[in-house]
Chain length 341, copies 4
């Protein structure tokens, strides 16, 4: 249910509508827009008896929302959500490229990567501190030490930083240290983590899991929004199909479809989808052409010595070439991309 | 790496081998067998320099293990693992049927289900206290109150109980209240939860996620075993393919394949795979015929009034019929099944 | 649209109803039942104006059929179709096992296989004369010479024979030489071949292709039935999912679902699904337990010397063991299986 | 096996090498290049005893080819194959857009579509005469009459025409009437049709089937090339995964991968993949950005009245907009696109 307020509704009238919604045992979510405010209503298990609401002052219209996603839908909020991280705006006219190593392996490697990706025009730095690994015997990340290194890289380059939190215990440490917290594909339906992240004050980058449907993906985001966190960035990173030449099958069709039904920004991670360096450039171009608001690209100063995901990491030179290509491509789809330093 | 000790190796000699392994920076996992002990070695990232170990007294053989799964593999432990929960043995000659409601909705419903499934021959009770739900607005389970109800059902029926833990925070509460803790499909690669469960003293029922490969499934179990928990039950519950008539595609081929490469018991959940009541009986029969060590079946006293997964829940009468059928079928594949009370 | 005639409708009244249907530009398909005749109506693109039909003598009822499958549906014909091939009845109480080599490689190999599978209790012989091969450079079958060898095997053993026709050109030769013509998975949507086979006088064994939905599978059968061939056997042989340990993912859930919505017999080919000999026995058991009317099993006198699909072929000894197991299992699901000679 | 001849090898020496290859029971395929000729060798089932060949005059090198695809591989022919259809070159610097209605429904509709797509810059016309339809009761195409209409559209517009042949019987009629014969996704492994098409003198547009792996796709093309037809265009049109918002999952990653391992041109059909009009534009852009050599787009003068695939057909105005967008995009990936008339 969406309660649309009149253009001239006063803050007081809006609050009165919220109270009335609460009185029905439901939860109001005011969504201020340019011209008017709408109030999303959640918490109902079935149809809502809306009679009480329709009669309130300054209520223009009641719109039933039948899709299970509510706060994430364009019906609730038609304007694009722009997630602001310092001077970086994800979901605006600029295509934001986030780049860096899969794992923070040490200060030297991370700083080298950070400076290289900044030089080439990346607007944010990525780097894994806590790594979800298929094998318990594989390198699991440097943990807290990695967060310190990322902080130093941010201080040196000015790039905001994104890093993954793998559980609620360490979420707050990650959130305190970085600018955007990533929830990885394997945790897309870890609802405890989603609720925790929904109550945090940090933007969240939410990855689609390998067998997540569009609806499941949006409902995962709905967990975040319903807890109050509106700064959510969706990220397609490949689904599991029968592909035998790439690690996953990048589902680029979901980009325009998501842009149609949700107001949240959508970015694409071609590196994890491909699992192979040589496919990253063409897939990055295709993602921008499909309408992605940003890209997540793995870059390592020495890809062949990476402790994780080396085969899919670009060298700094390859990344610079990718950025050069995207700088030519973006305007052709009416987007911008940052110039190289 | 597997260090096979001679038949007559003394406890002292075994401990000496373990010390030598630790001295190499590795972790020894002694696996006592009927005739001899083998010691699994983990913690290595590459090849191990085994020279030091080969010369130890009472060491028969060093076997390199190339598969990423080690402690879960038959190469490490050739005999079937039998998980004992009171008088129930999963992985032995009996096919163990675990049944009960998807969610604990109240005492009356749960007790009715518990008595009904016990009467029909179920050996364990299932019931969800904490439910991972796609929608944040859906019924999320009764939580702690449900654990109390399950405890009462156990007291009344004598059936051991399995229930899901969805995060590390509440794992210990669940583990304290039930006999087997379930890790759900969506958490199969929640490595923090796996590590936590691996350090617990409770058997774990680990479900395969919808896009988990066989290797990923075993590696998830490997997390549990590598932390010391050997009482792990694997559960196939359907994968995500293009099926349009059942909720998931039950992958029964994985049952004999898992039995071949791992010593852990393997059970099947036809209820979640099918998502439809009428497919549960034939799939339950097929699972037993394929070699499953047990079944997980949803039963609700009034399926049409269930708060979750009603369409796939059997009524007590349908469940009794299913058990009757399985009692005829099991001996045909040289297995037993409990008689009805 | 289904026109249900009264119990006492005369042949003349039935013919009059058919004429009325034709007069509407539609095609009548009379389906005689035990107690009454129903007339399937096809050829309509939208809703039918049924007024003219309702007023005809001896018409009991008009039932709109909304599913795209008509002649294949249980709504059209509720009783099981039993396909009779000599004394073999597929779709009746007996589980029919069809066995033999993937390819006919020579008289000696085929005769050895035929005698072996007959001895073990197989009721039909399979053997490929024309092989659809992924590579143009692979062995493509002996063609016409193979058909002669199959005829000889039939003469010697008395077993009816099934072999695949890969195109319309050679369909009639195959149909003339064998008892059942197989349409392979890759040709499930080869509509020219389906139409041709639908006009033939031979029973057809139709395999589901690797990405065929249930509806597409039934619509392929609908092509056969709508051309007049009612002797159609459906065969599940594995779908393409992300499986990495078996060649395809055997979708056994489709067996009970097909049995529910179509009257046609349903068999299962575990050999092609698994692609591995050691999975064939458990999957064959599971298929029978799921309700399959028959099995298609590859048997080669010397599997390791087979020109095609050796890794999945059983030896005669393994096949005899499989039959022994099934003879114990079938009665547990109220089915029979032929005794060994 | 690839026999590389020296730069100065004479026609006579090349023929002598071919004879030697034939003498070994193998088939030589001379592939003239700019600087030298290579001879592909097929027909071997195992390793070839190459001693006899190595000693021939003017033979520079023998290269074993381990991949099952030979004639389609870049190892056999490193330069891009450019398929020429009149003045249209597929595989060269220009991105070729082929557009038109799914089915030829009549002269008026087809001519309107043909003129509209030409005006907007399409270089070829598509239109179905024989339609493979899931249902035997659905519109199956106008057949021969449609071929006449397509011929008239070609005469009026000068656009070369592509249309599908669904079986060997009618292949030659289609081939006589059109410039490029399409083999549809459902026939990708119809080997009889492939062999027939391989012997034809018409370029072939080969579509990937919904569950075809990259290797199976190339091996289907290998059938065409091994029969002598070198003018083969590959077309990605979506695979079957678990997608629930688009008809198929467009696998754009295969575009750069195919370009890497085969010399054949690769085009993309976003219309059939999406099954929805509104996804066609972003996917068309993404395909070009990923490196596609062309596009296949459905355009209908009145999409809402189309007899087949209306929901995915663009109107002439939408198509003109798509072409305008591509004209801006193509230069950004160093490709050209025809100007509008």
């Amino acid at each position: 249910m969406l309660v649309v307020m009149k253009n001239d509704a006063t803050p007081d009238e809006i609050e009165r509508a919220c109270s009335a919604i609460r009185a029905l045992g439901l939860v109001p979510h005011p969504i201020p827009g340019d011209t008017r405010t709408a109030i999303g209503v959640t918490g109902n298990r079935g149809a809502i008896d809306a009679t009480a609401l329709a009669g309130l002052p300054a209520v223009l219209e009641l719109i039933p929302v039948t899709k299970p996603y509510k706060l994430t839908s364009r019906e609730m909020k038609s304007a694009d959500t722009v997630v602001r991280i310092g001077s970086v705006e994800i979901g605006g006219p600029e295509v934001i490229v986030i780049a860096g190593p899969c794992s923070v392996e040490g200060a030297e490697q991370t700083l080298a990567a950070a400076h290289a990706v900044k030089r080439a025009g990346a607007r944010m730095l990525r780097g894994g501190a806590f790594k979800p690994r298929t094998s318990p015997y594989a390198f699991q990340g440097l943990g807290g030490a990695a967060l310190d290194i990322l902080a130093r890289a941010r201080a040196e380059t000015g790039l905001p930083v994104v890093s993954e939190a793998v559980d609620t215990d360490r979420f707050d440490d990650v959130a305190a240290a970085v600018d955007v917290v990533q929830i990885g594909a394997r945790n897309m339906q870890n609802y405890s983590l989603l609720r925790h992240a929904g109550r945090a004050r940090r933007p969240v980058l939410l990855k689609r899991w390998m067998s997540g449907t569009l609806e499941e993906f949006l409902m995962a985001a709905e967990y975040l929004l319903s807890e109050g966190n509106r700064d959510v960035i969706l990220c397609e990173r490949g689904i599991r199909a029968f592909s035998d030449y790439s690690r996953y099958t990048l589902d680029l069709s979901i980009v325009p479809e998501l842009k149609r039904i949700t107001h949240l920004p959508v970015i694409v991670d071609p590196s994890h989808a491909a699992g192979r360096r040589d496919l990253v450039l063409p897939l990055a171009r295709a993602a921008v052409a499909a309408g992605a608001d940003g890209l997540l690209i793995e870059v390592h100063p020495e890809p062949d010595r990476a402790l994780s995901d080396g085969p899919q990491s670009l060298s700094p030179a390859m990344f610079a070439e990718l950025m050069d290509e995207l700088r030519v491509l973006a305007p052709a789809v009416r987007r911008e991309i940052a110039t190289a330093a």
